[in-house]
Point group: C2
Chain length 119, copies 2
DNA sequence: TTACTGTATTAAACATATTAGTACAGTACA
DNA sequence: TGTACTGTACTAATATGTTTAATACAGTAA
């Protein structure tokens, strides 16, 4: 499904949240599609079930995932056009642009990066 | 000089590195200007001297600061056009653009943010 | 000499993430 | 009904990294 970086400074559950979100945005995971169970994904990734549960719960809080006790966890209907994600990435981009400008990146360079991204 | 967020998840010494770097980029701290001593800054910010020392040492490693035993710590000559900072911010911007596009941000919106940044 | 400066080191305290183990209730299916 | 799944909850132990605390040493400057 995806790979983790255990030695990274970002927590495992955060990495999982990000990976799953990316799979949703890429259209790999579709609405109402069932995710691996907490225990099976934990076994597969070699982590503790509690860690997976934490990731799933936070994703549920963000509206990316919904869980049904006894049945499983699934991708939310509007996950791909999620308001939280949109706001977060937009804010992050604005901040990144500000920092880049502050660091001396000229407009032409920034424009080049944008063009390259949307080519 | 600047304010810290003790409850933040990013370490204090990382916050200090970022703040000092920003002051350099803004031209508030100039080349060869002396920084507060490890002990005085620690007292002022209410943190441990070791924490300040760690920040200074990493800034020295990145070429933003140079230290002279017994004299003090100072801003490096080429700190404002630092290669490390330039590379880091450029990479961060590229990544941020990719994520924003993946999250569904259309080119026009990204362009607006860029224009707003460089207006 | 005195009072600064940076640097180094060790140990303790603290916060957080992660693991381990257990338990309970709901669902699906034979 | 029984079995094996599912999510959820909880406590305790462990690991890791940050921060603090307390020293110590050497160089600088008045």
């Amino acid at each position: 499904m995806f790979v983790l970086e255990p030695q990274s400074r970002v927590p495992i559950y955060e990495q999982m949240k990000k990976k799953i979100t990316e799979l949703v945005l890429l259209g790999v995971l579709l609405p109402d599609e069932q995710l691996p169970s907490v225990r099976s994904l934990a076994r597969k990734l070699g982590v503790n079930p509690n860690t997976v549960q934490k990731a799933y719960q936070e994703l549920e809080h963000d509206g990316i995932v919904y869980s049904m006790g006894g049945k499983g966890s699934f991708i939310s209907t509007g996950a791909k056009n999620n308001a939280v994600i949109c706001r977060q990435t937009r804010t992050a981009l604005a901040k990144s642009l500000q920092e880049a400008r502050l660091a001396g990146l000229v407009r032409e360079e920034a424009q080049k990066l944008l063009d390259k991204t949307y080519m």
